[in-house]
Amino acid sequence: MAAGSASNPCRVLVIGAGMAGLTAALSALERGASVVLLSRFPATRSPSSAFKGGFNAAEGSAEVEIHVADALAHGGPGTSEAMARSRAQAAGGLAEWLARQGLPFDRDGAGFLRQSLPGSSRPRTLSAGAAFGRQLIHALDGQVRRFERAGRLERADGWHLAELILDDEGRCRGAVAVHLHTLEARAFSADAVVLAAGGAGWLVKPTACALDCDGAAVGLAHRHGARLQDADRLAWHPSVPGPDKDLAVPPLLLVQGAKATEDTLDLRGLGKPAWKRWGGSFPRLAAAFSGKNPAGELLPLRSAVVGSLGGLRVDEDMATDLPGLLAAGEAASGGFGARALPGDEALAWLHQAQVAGRSAAGAKVREAEPAEALRAQEATVLRLRAVHAAHGSTSPGGLLAELSQELTLALGPGGSLEAVNALEGLAARVESDLWVKDRSLVANAGTLAALDLPASLAWARSVVATAAARRTAPPDVVLNAAWTGAGPRIAAEGVGA
């Protein structure tokens, strides 16, 4: 089908332009829909661009079954067998599709190079050098640009999600976003919405995630009735501490012979070419941040958060509990259980995104109802005004830092559940004690953070309640279990919120 022809009148709004958002957009475009791709930043700046590692793709049905068995064994009780199987079965086709989009997979002769990550009984992880995420974003962004040039896709870069548009029946019909530079509020109406705005890994410390992984979009959907699944479960990975965040050790560097213990990383056994090929800028940055020379010294190591394993609960079509809203990527639950089989994270995100794009392109088309969009837009403008009129005593940054502290206590190595009460208190203060001192209407990050706070708190309270219901410490915080040989602790059955 020619890129220029919108053969399907369905209008899809994709929120988030990382690997999941781009994939969902392409999937909907391939089915003839037209797409608005809304994102805080251009795709090239998305947190996905820092994703390392690769993704698992087994070949042949016997191998697929072994893949499923590995995922179930690794995730433990609460792992969704249906989700593990559906992504394992889709993996081969997905790999071929990605290669066609221009993703330069590492090759071994004519076929894909397959490596073994911990937990996998067979070599099945595909990679693209040291910066899988960067390579993925480059290829998918180039493909999306083609549809953009043909007029099938509109990019809305620099827009911060502020509100969902709901019709009278409570169905999601789009979103209102606020522009990062001008604070203008704009309504984006659509027949279906795909939320692919990432996870919440920045909020729990220590973290190796990007600043923007603040879970605000998931919180907003949750506030409107979309339920969460396993949202208290995080992915932890060996990381070198840095000044503002940690640096996750590239998984393939570990596979290639870098040695991790609970608190040290040894790169000495690897030659410089391997450092570059499988480590990219990691060895240089880790040296700069730690003040150690990895050619002769051990680097300090600890466990840091690299992503969310849970998120919005989705069915097999990626529909959330909020009608009209689909979810994909880190924003959706992956059904991983206590830990994701290394290499299954990106597979899940991309597979879900393809499915979500397909579902969205099949949504029922209806005449636009400008009334509800206007209503949501007005409400957002009023909230912006209210934020600037607030006269409390705590800055949005301060409240967010407190929120992050409580989440860290609840979900981090301590697993303390006292945060439940503290979060109640915080929620009250968001209503009464907020003070945005900087009232500029230009590029005001504080104002946007204040807009997000109610949703972030709703999310945090659910997540901590879930963790409390599980009544067990988070499992993989046992330092770097999968990668250092320490035995993992497996938590109880998955709990929803």
Binding site: G102, P243, K437
Partner: protein, 234 residues
């Protein structure tokens, strides 16, 4: 450790800028970005762009002591000049939105205009393609280029190294001959490859070691061949 940070601030588009000097306390391993973010508990905070904090997303490019660098990977140590100052400014080739935030949207518009898009692709040498696709779109190469953002020789501004490089990569990966011809035509037009003065400052400026000179040379050959063919088969 103590360092004095000299920051060029600006409240909004088109407004006058001013210098502000702040004393920063920091530890070994701290970066220019850490220092700026720490400062941000004060009011009004310095507006800036940052996300990955590990040189992967290109957001935090700014002028540090006059040179475009990624602030999240630039250590403070050893940066101070003889007066003990580290100077931080927004990139100069893009319109300032506020403080250190600039609008780099032009790069994306130019990519679109040059049709640096992908369609059906061929399988190349993976590690070669990986090296070429490692650009983080930071704009450092454009900052260093004397022709980028200079007076518009032919009414259209020069697209600069990164867009030339991405066009070359699209030629390399793309299978479609018509696409390639369209792209080469666009590159031969105003603002395209002919406006490159071959100064090659871009090569040294790039934090990701993208072989920009090689890309531009290859595009130069390809556009020449294309022009000759077009003339022969007219």
């Amino acid at each position: 450790m103590k360092t004095r940070l000299r920051i060029r601030r600006q409240d909004g588009p088109g407004q006058a800028s001013r210098w502000e000097v702040r004393e920063i306390h920091h530890e070994e391993g701290h970066t220019v970005l850490s220092a700026l973010m720490e400062r941000n508990s004060e009011v009004p905070p310095v507006a800036l762009e940052a996300s990955c904090l590990e040189e992967a997303c290109g957001s935090c490019a700014m002028l540090i002591n006059g040179r475009a660098r990624l602030a999240c990977g630039t250590l403070l140590e050893g940066l101070a000049d003889k007066d003990g100052l580290v100077t931080v400014e927004p990139l100069s080739k893009f319109p300032v939105v506020r403080d250190l935030v600039v609008d780099r949207g032009r790069v994306r518009a130019d990519l679109l205009h040059m049709d640096a898009t992908l369609g059906e692709t061929r399988i190349g040498d993976p590690s070669r393609v990986q090296d070429l696709a490692a650009c983080v779109a930071c704009g450092a190469c454009l900052e260093a280029c004397p022709n980028y953002g200079a007076s518009e020789a032919r009414g259209v501004p020069f697209i600069g190294a990164v867009v030339l490089h991405e066009s070359r990569l699209a030629n390399l990966l793309g299978v479609d001959k018509v696409d390639r011809a369209v792209r080469l035509e666009a590159l031969m037009g105003n603002g395209g490859i002919a406006d490159c003065g071959n100064v090659q400052n871009c090569v040294n400026a790039c934090p990701k070691d993208i072989p920009l000179a090689e890309s531009i040379a290859e595009l130069g050959r390809d556009t020449t061949v294309h022009a000759i063919k077009r003339w022969l088969f007219r």
